[in-house]
């Protein structure tokens, strides 16, 4: 195996480990941190089914963003849907042997890469040209978009121009990562950049704003049932405080018996 293949193989496992451990820690943190009060935002679902429907609309359609701003919604949604389709298409590289037929359904969507890139360019445009959004942007916000753009464009270059990379080799390399049969990878520069930035993205996922992905599912304004009057909702720390402080509170209030 060449030196460059060894480095990229090692980088893959490193970034994957950072991603998995980092995300597990974050998700654990979100799980154990209680939401002590009922704070769903209107229009609130009154049932658990309603919450599931609401969350599905948020995650699939970006409902709230649609209400907020049609352009941001359009570009954001294009990017995310494009990215999802592109990601699923990548399964064929990692899958050892022949791909199950179900994946063939997404194969026609190779043009999703354009949706992704157009979305990103739109979002970048807004960040640069809309004064309000420029004001709230940090360097990392631009960098994130640039990184995704390079990933998207380098991928599209490989798919749609004559700069194809050796797909068989990619498959051997990628599926080798999964099955621990490590193999050499193609060394065209756009492929290496593409791959390297994906590793970077994986590694920074748990320490950046990409945490919006698990975040939405834990957002109390979106995932709570509006049933405060019907059920007593109480967090463990509040319950403990209730028991510990019962006497002290009476003293502080004065008038009690």
């Amino acid at each position: 195996m060449s030196a460059i293949s060894t480095i990229f193989t090692a980088l893959f496992y490193l970034s994957l480990a950072v991603f998995l451990i980092g995300m597990a820690r974050k998700i654990y943190q979100y799980t154990v941190t209680p939401a002590p009060l009922k704070i769903p935002t209107a229009p609130t679902p009154l049932t658990q089914t309603g919450v599931v429907m609401r969350m599905a609309r948020e995650v699939v359609l970006f409902e709230s963003l649609f209400k907020a701003n049609k352009w941001t919604w359009l570009f954001g949604w294009l990017f995310h849907v494009g990215l999802l389709l592109v990601l699923v298409r990548h399964a064929r590289y990692f899958w050892p042997g022949d791909l199950p037929e179900i994946f063939l359904l997404v194969q026609p969507f190779k043009y999703a890469a354009f949706a992704m890139v157009i979305g990103l360019i739109g979002l970048m445009g807004r960040r640069i040209f809309v004064e309000r959004i420029r004001y709230i942007s940090a360097p990392s916000d631009y960098l994130m978009l640039i990184m995704l753009l390079i990933i998207g464009i380098s991928g599209a270059v490989m798919t749609f121009t004559s700069n194809h990379t050796d797909v068989i080799m990619v498959k051997e390399f990628a599926s080798g990562l999964i099955t621990f049969n490590w193999a050499d990878l193609p060394t065209e520069i756009h492929f290496l950049v593409h791959l390297f930035l994906v590793f970077v993205l994986m590694a920074i996922f748990p320490i950046s704003k990409l945490l919006h992905v698990p975040g939405i599912f834990f957002s109390p304004t979106r995932n709570q049932v509006d049933d405060a009057r019907k059920k007593r909702h109480i967090s463990p720390w509040a319950l403990k405080q209730e028991q510990d402080h019962a006497v002290k509170l009476d003293e502080a209030l004065g008038k009690d018996k």
């Binding site: 979002l123 360097p139 960098l143 704003k209 939405i216 304004t221 509006d226």
Partner: protein
Amino acid sequence: MAAKEFDIPVLPTYLEIPEIKEGIMEGDGPFKSSEQFQNPLGFPGEKVDNWQEVAIEKMGELKSKYRSVQVFLDSCVKCGACTDKCHYFLGSSDPKNMPVARQDLFRSVYRRHFTFAGKYFPKLVGAKELDDEMLDDWYNYFHQCSQCRRCSVFCPYGIDTAEISMAAREVLDAVGVGQKYCNQILGKAITIGNNLGLPEPALRDTLLDLEEEIEEETGIAVKYPLDVKGAEILLITPSADFFAEPHIDGLIGYGKVFHEDGVSWTMSSYASEGANFGMFIGSYDIMRKAALRIRKAALDLEVSRVMVGECGHAWRVAYSFWNTLTGVGAGATDEFGLKLQNQLDSRYPQPQHIIEYTHDLIQRGKLKFDKSVNDDRNVTFHDSCNVARATNMGGIPNGQFILPREVIKAVCNNYVDMERSTIKESTFCCGGGGGLLTDDLMEIRIKGAMPRMQALKEVEKTDGVNTLVAICAICKSQFSKVLPKFDFDPYMIVSAHQLVSEAIIMEKPQTDDSVTQEAEEVTE
């Protein structure tokens, strides 16, 4: 008595997103609290020496106690969806009044102290140190947020600036930099029982005067019972209802409705406040302390129903938080909650809003109205933010929008809604909520009222609207003050129950005396 001169916004024909004007709302913020108001709440009297240390420790504590804080700080992608949603930004143009920028005051410090990227690459991710300048910005700009939650409706992750603003105010209190208005009032609320510091004899006198006034005017003895043990309903209403205009006309309306229903009811001198400013300062403990007085009053007076008057954040605290804080509600499995819930009548929602009650009576045909009395009025309804975005009424989806409108339409003939994007879940705050209803914040109050005033101006032009109804004590006080600044009649703001009071046909003279005679009077 605002500290500096400022221009009152001119109402545009259409609401436009302003260009940002950096630093236009910079300042010292509202009057700071002093030792005398801080200490009773358990806060340091002045800025402590090691305040940075204390503040960072407090931030760490809060993010481990509130998932909202932790998730919201992590999840923001700076998409900008919220940037044009805050009434204070629309009215002032100060970019730090954009919800995300307001959160970023807090988030930048969180990143600096609690995240890998912020610790090692602060410039890259916009992480900042909590220095004096930053703390001053916190104090100033977190007191330019009315915690109305409009931004949260539009955020793709539901990030609620109110949660961040409450956390920031809690940190500020912990380092001894509290706001005088809220903390002074809270001191009175948790020792005397109401925000005005009104003791029992004064309250009793006021209510007697009110009874006389109504009897003189209508010839009917509508009673305002206080501390009546064994009454069915305990009414918890904002203390502004006892004194302020136009609030008191709403209280008159509640009394008339109770009278017509013939139900026995009472107020409590021990818990004579619906408002709970503990929510504004973000303190679970103080909010609970204030709410516990209501629990005690309900237990002592042995009532079977707890009802809440017209007050926005009070209804949020009551509807969403009381069950958690004190057990006023249903479905408890713990000893503490059960003690009260066994006493409460489970056939009714606990707590119940006065609008739900009146609405129910109207539905059952128990109230008669002469709607023509209100024919000189062209009415519109201002959805108060806490009611609209944080509560429900009637247990039906969007009931909090439906019920008040149905009550209003049952008592007057001419009703029209304002522009859809300014009502219901998208309602614009009156500009005075969240602990901002103080004269030292008059500039931001007036500027923040602009978007609501613009929508009102539109229906004034198109439909001749001359009456603005609200079901929130803060909205009513705020509108009375700011309406004239935008060339409206300050008396156009009324309670929903004022309209009820004017249209109701009283058919049951003198029946409730028997009820009060049976009940035992409690005096402390």
